[in-house]
């Protein structure tokens, strides 16, 4: 199977990333960004060519097996939703790179790192949205987390960058892991990772007992990525990244991956009330929380971060609401929420992207983003001011910008929600328009703060590091293009309707339509005197009022203890701060450094496991039938061995202890004689002699044995463990023997007795086994001896000093 061009569009950024360091090093005179700019432009234009196909309601599928053994295939599925996202990714990518060329100084910054990460991100993001296979989607998903974390930590010598990077990584990857579990469950239920095939089995999924856990696990992934409450906390800290990154990843594209996932999997899950409530509920709360908290921020980028959180919540809530269409049919007004979601997603990318760029310009030109220091910049930066006013007004939902239209549609669908009669909506439905209204008021307020605190009011030159002036034209072009779109979409929304929005909505409702039908998306600014219009009017009125009286009621944040940090951060910080101390404590307790303790754990594990198993299965037996007459001398020897052994722990004199141990060894040799093992007896005798000599050589200079000063519990634990081990070994020996006599498998040893003479030419069967039947054992047994001897030489003669790995070569 050959790579299609779409595959190449995903892979190309990764390959291109690899050559970026080369451009950076070899052609330092030209800003690396110019080279980088080429690729997304090409990809964007290439993707544009798909619009006719997709708007006809067709989809493009390209198959490429990757790891078919695991059901992972690099299949591409390009439909309306995927096209919308991939255009956003490549299109905004172009603008952001252009912007970054002016934002990042080629002489001061590690551009190769920056563009490497950025290209990696772009490829990964395209992979997420174009993949038709859940696991490939996951692969790219994690890569976006990774590249995002690297970009946040781009200025890695700053403490805050590292903090933000770690946080984003931990939060999004934990979501990713739970998503992985969710996808695995989906795989187990449906037997495939291919998204279209999963959607085809929607009934199987719904009938599965694992439906709810699967859904929740998948949603955790989406929520962490799209910064839904309470996982939103990583996003404000992600603002430590260079501003082009914030504009690109943390507002326009990556954070929308969660939205994408929810939309993409809506056909699978949306038939359940749980999905409806979780998605819209979390969305609404996030909308409220984000907008409420944005107002208290003083840093331009923080305001934008919370604003993004809030807007993401809004889109999420609309997607949740749209899922009601699965219950009520598609022609009803419910799909309007989904249309609004898709439309707003586009609009948000335009106005938020431009606002971030404005924040970057302000930062770049004044050296600060703190609105307490800013003000009155209008005269210095008129173009920037114009851009920001368009962007902010669109965000606030003011006519005639695109934000107004989607906001209006949002409010409309929220009002519509109160008409749903099932899903407990009869009693709880009022929440939707209420939250929407409140949140919109706050949205209005922070939008105003953003523009007017920065550009109007008193100019405070003493608080600024440098004298502000208008940004270079290259830095202005990208936001101008974006706000241009804000205006164009505001006046001519329907250029998007059929080409982009409709196919995208169709992807979210694949069952809503028969093959020939289409969603008829018409977006118009005027709907008559609808409740939505009244809501908008009242939002603006109340918003203006509250903006003007801001100082009067802003103390509420202090009262609610929201003024320092987001309360959810206490949880995150608390956990992260405690992990290491807890780990230390848990590790310290068992790791005493005392060999005895480590051995005790081993023995206790052994005893407990064996006793448990014996108890569980039974199996203890003892065979007394053929108890042979035991000669008296065996009794004596056994008694003496036992006595000598038992004596050893009590001996204080080291030489006596060594001799007593050897004595046991010699008596064991004697036992070998009794049991007709002459070779063994001989060997044991000789080995015992040599060992004893070695003992005496080595321990001659050691101190005498002491009475161990230990607590009685220590001693008695040892005694109990020791007895336990002895009992265990004996019990098992007896049981094995009993089983042996019962089962009576023929031992392989008889073969040796029969064949030693004729086929191995030896009469001493033990020796024949050693050198012939099992000669391999012997060969490696002498290797053990050899290693031991050489090791002893090394131990005695090689005496290095110092710490390891240091000062060695």
């Amino acid at each position: 199977m050959l790579l299609s061009l779409l595959h190449i569009a995903i892979i190309a950024p990764f390959l291109f990333a690899l050559v970026i360091p080369f451009f950076y090093k070899k052609i330092p005179s030209i800003h690396t960004g110019w080279f980088v700019l080429i690729l997304p432009t090409v990809i964007f234009i290439y993707l544009l060519t798909f619009i006719p196909t997709i708007s006809r309601g067709e989809t493009v599928t390209q198959l490429l097996p990757w790891v078919p053994s695991l059901g992972i295939n690099f299949d591409i599925h390009l439909d309306g939703l995927a096209l919308l996202f991939s255009l956003l990714i490549s299109g905004i990518g172009v603008l952001v790179i252009l912007y970054s060329i002016y934002y990042l100084d080629k002489n001061k910054e590690s551009l190769h790192n920056f563009y490497f990460y950025l290209m990696m991100f772009m490829g990964a993001m395209l992979g997420v949205v174009l993949s038709g296979n859940l696991m490939v989607l996951y692969v790219f998903w994690e890569l976006t987390s990774l590249s995002s974390a690297l970009l946040i930590g781009y200025w890695y010598d700053r403490e805050k960058s590292r903090y933000g990077s770690l946080k984003s990584m931990l939060v999004t990857v934990s979501g990713g892991f739970s998503m992985l579990a969710g996808f695995s469950l989906l795989y187990v239920i449906t037997g495939t990772f291919t998204i279209t095939e999963i959607i085809a089995q929607v009934d199987t999924v719904a009938a599965s007992g694992l439906f709810i856990p699967t859904m929740i696990l998948v949603l955790l992934g989406a929520f962490t990525k799209s910064a839904q409450f309470p996982f939103h906390i990583w996003l404000p800290d992600a603002m430590e990244a260079p501003t082009p990154v914030s504009a690109y990843l943390h507002s326009a594209t990556m954070v929308k991956a969660g939205i994408y996932l929810v939309a993409r999997l809506s056909p699978v899950f949306s038939g359940s009330s749980e999905w409806f409530w979780i998605v819209s509920g979390f969305g609404l709360f996030t909308l409220l929380w984000g907008s409420f908290n944005a107002v208290r921020q003083t840093d331009l980028k923080s305001i934008l971060a919370y604003s993004t959180i809030s807007q993401l919540g809004m889109i999420m809530s609309m997607l949740g609401l749209g899922s009601a269409a699965a219950f009520y049919g598609y022609e009803a007004g419910y799909t309007a929420a989904t249309v609004a979601a898709v439309f707003h997603l586009i609009n948000h990318s335009t106005f938020k992207g431009s606002l971030f760029m404005v924040a970057g310009i302000v930062d770049h030109e004044t050296g600060t983003r703190d609105i307490r220091k800013l003000g009155g910049l209008m005269t210095f930066m008129p173009i920037t001011f114009t851009i920001s006013i368009i962007g902010a007004f669109s965000m606030a939902g003011i006519y005639p910008f695109n934000g107004f239209l989607s906001k209006e549609m949002f409010l409309e669908s929220m009002v519509e929600a109160t008409h749903i009669t099932s899903l407990n909506m009869a009693s709880l439905g009022f929440i939707f328009p209420l939250v929407a209204w409140i949140a919109s008021v706050f949205t209005f307020i922070y939008s105003m703060i953003l523009v007017f605190k920065t550009f109007t009011g008193n100019y405070q030159p003493e608080k600024l590091d440098k004298k502000p002036h208008e940004a270079p034209i290259g830095m202005l072009i990208p936001p101008i293009i974006l706000v241009g779109l804000v205006v164009i979409f505001g006046f001519f929304p329907n250029i998007l309707a059929h080409s982009i929005i409709e196919p995208a909505v169709q992807s979210i409702y694949p069952y809503g339509l028969t093959g020939v039908e289409h969603f008829d998306v018409h977006i118009s600014p005027w709907h008559g005197f609808t409740p939505a219009l009244f809501m908008t009017v009242s939002i603006v009125a109340v918003g203006v009022l509250m903006y003007l009286t801001l100082t009067k009621w802003q103390k509420i944040y202090t009262f609610l203890r929201l003024h320092q940090k987001d309360p959810v951060n206490y949880i995150y910080d608390g956990i992260v701060k405690r992990v290491v101390p807890v780990a230390k404590r848990v590790t310290k307790v068992p790791e005493t450094g005392l060999l005895r303790d480590y051995l005790a754990y081993m023995y206790i594990f052994l005893i407990v496991a064996v006793v448990f198993t014996l108890y569980h299965f039974g199996g203890f037996a003892i065979e007394t039938a053929n108890v042979a007459e035991i000669p008296i001398y065996v009794w004596v020897i056994v008694a003496v061995i036992a006595a000598a052994a038992l004596l050893i722990p009590f001996l204080k004199n080291r030489v006596t202890a060594i001799i007593a141990t050897s004595f046991v060894g010699f008596l064991v040799a004697l036992l070998f004689v009794m049991f007709r093992a002459p070779d063994l007896a001989l060997t044991q005798l000789l080995v015992e002699t040599v060992t004893t000599a070695l003992f005496l050589l080595c321990f001659y200079h050691l101190p005498e044995l002491r009475n161990e000063k230990s607590k009685p519990t220590f001693k008695w634990t040892n005694v109990i463990i020791s007895i336990g081990v002895g009992v265990l070994v004996t019990t098992m020996a007896l049981s094995s023997l009993a089983l042996k006599s019962k089962k009576g498998f023929e031992s392989i040893a008889n073969y040796f007795l029969e064949n030693a003479h004729d086929f191995a030419g030896g009469d001493n069967v033990v020796n024949v086994i050693l050198v012939d039947f099992r000669g391999m054992d012997t060969m490696f047994e002498i290797l053990v001896l050899g290693i031991a001897a050489l090791g002893i030489v090394a131990l005695i003669k090689l005496k290095l000093n110092g710490k390891e790995d240091i000062n060695e070569k």
Binding site: L686, V690, L694, G762, V771, G775, M779, I782, A789, I792
Partner: protein, 140 residues
């Protein structure tokens, strides 16, 4: 103990006897108790006896052996018997034996297992003596 003539004489005789016995054990191992390992320990104990009755340095000057080489040599001999069977297309470590009629000795059994056992013998002699001398030499 250096000038203890009677001890030295005794030792010489004892060492001779022990060494002969050790060789016997090595060669007889295939049919009677014994074998390379036992023979080697016997041999080593003879040498140790020498060390004890004379002193280490004297003996080292007489027996200029470098024991680590024993280990290497023995291992290679043992492996060699295994490999030689492979050369003839048999599985690794296949042992062969044959009976030969030699003048004076009469019917003698020749086995490759004996060569293997000699390898074992050399390793173990080397090991034992290396260990003992190394420890003993280490100035305490």
């Amino acid at each position: 103990m250096k000038n203890n003539v009677s001890l030295h004489t005794m030792t010489r005789i004892a060492v001779f006897i022990i060494l002969s016995f050790a060789i016997y054990l090595l060669l007889a191992g295939h049919n009677n108790p014994g074998g390379g390992f036992i023979g080697a320990l016997m041999t080593a104990s003879a040498v140790v006896l020498l060390y004890i009755s004379f002193d280490l340095k004297t003996i080292k000057n007489v027996l200029e052996f470098y024991f680590p080489y024993f280990i290497g040599t023995g291992l290679i001999i043992a492996i060699g018997t295994g490999i030689s069977s492979m050369i003839f297309g048999y599985p690794f470590l296949t042992q062969f034996f044959t009976h030969a009629h030699l003048p004076i000795l009469g019917d003698v059994e020749l086995t490759t297992a004996l060569v293997f056992d000699i390898g074992v013998y050399i390793v173990v002699v080397g090991v034992t003596l290396l260990i003992i001398t190394t420890i003993a030499e280490d100035d305490v």
